[in-house]
Symmetry: C2
Subunit: 137 residues, 2 copies
């Protein structure tokens, strides 16, 4: 019943064997898909931290709004009004997403532009799914 955590095959998703600092919150969970072997406490805590950042309606909408915005980036003033929340609340949610490694923040002049971290959401999805997937494009 021993499962091959050691003999891990990474499927090329971001954050796996890609250096020391990429997606730190996801690394422990890397190569240990949820349904293949029991998670140890550390990996569970790490993955839960990332999922907790995602598990909020406002933050999910922020992610999708940033992704759908022209240029793949948006500043706070673009997001406040369509989201229907105050500017401090939007800033707070964006900070949570940045801290979780899901968004990047780029301050240019007076504006702060937020953008998706490429592959971050895919890495979360890869841990959740049991299917061995092939990227089509």
């Amino acid at each position: 019943m021993h499962r091959d955590i050691d003999n891990c095959q990474c499927h090329g998703h971001t954050g796996c064997m890609a250096g020391p600092k990429t997606l730190p919150l996801l690394d422990p969970a890397c190569c240990a898909p949820l349904v293949r072997a029991p998670l140890d406490a550390a990996a569970a805590t790490s993955l839960a931290r990332t999922l907790k950042a995602l598990a909020d309606p406002a933050r999910l909408r922020l992610l999708s709004m940033v992704a759908a915005h022209e240029g793949g980036e948006a500043c706070v003033c673009d997001l406040t009004e369509p989201l229907g929340l105050t500017q401090p609340t939007v800033s707070h949610h964006l900070k949570v997403l940045v801290d979780a490694g899901l968004l990047t923040r780029d301050k240019r002049g007076v504006w702060a532009y937020y953008a998706l971290v490429p592959g971050a959401l895919d890495a979360v999805a890869a841990v959740l799914t049991s299917q061995d997937v092939a990227v089509r494009i």
Copy 2:
């Protein structure tokens, strides 16, 4: 800039055009991957509810322990001791996962057997990822 929500292509993941009652919490988010178009409030709330059920170390470990257990099912007494939590707490977490549509509960005699809902985690992963994936096996 109009994105094709109407002209939706389902990739065959569970809960999509598969009847009225399968995975109710995921249906609103179906066919609207996070990064393709802005989520409306209802879809965001629905997806957040499912992710909130996942965003806890104990529940993540429970999911993986149930999946890795022999026969793909486990009763509460199998999970309490390795998890290091009391029996009421384990029962509470299992109820949260059942209510989220991620686990099934089958009472046989004195024991309650929990098992993964097939495709439930894959459906969550499919919403999170932007990649058009092909199942290999």
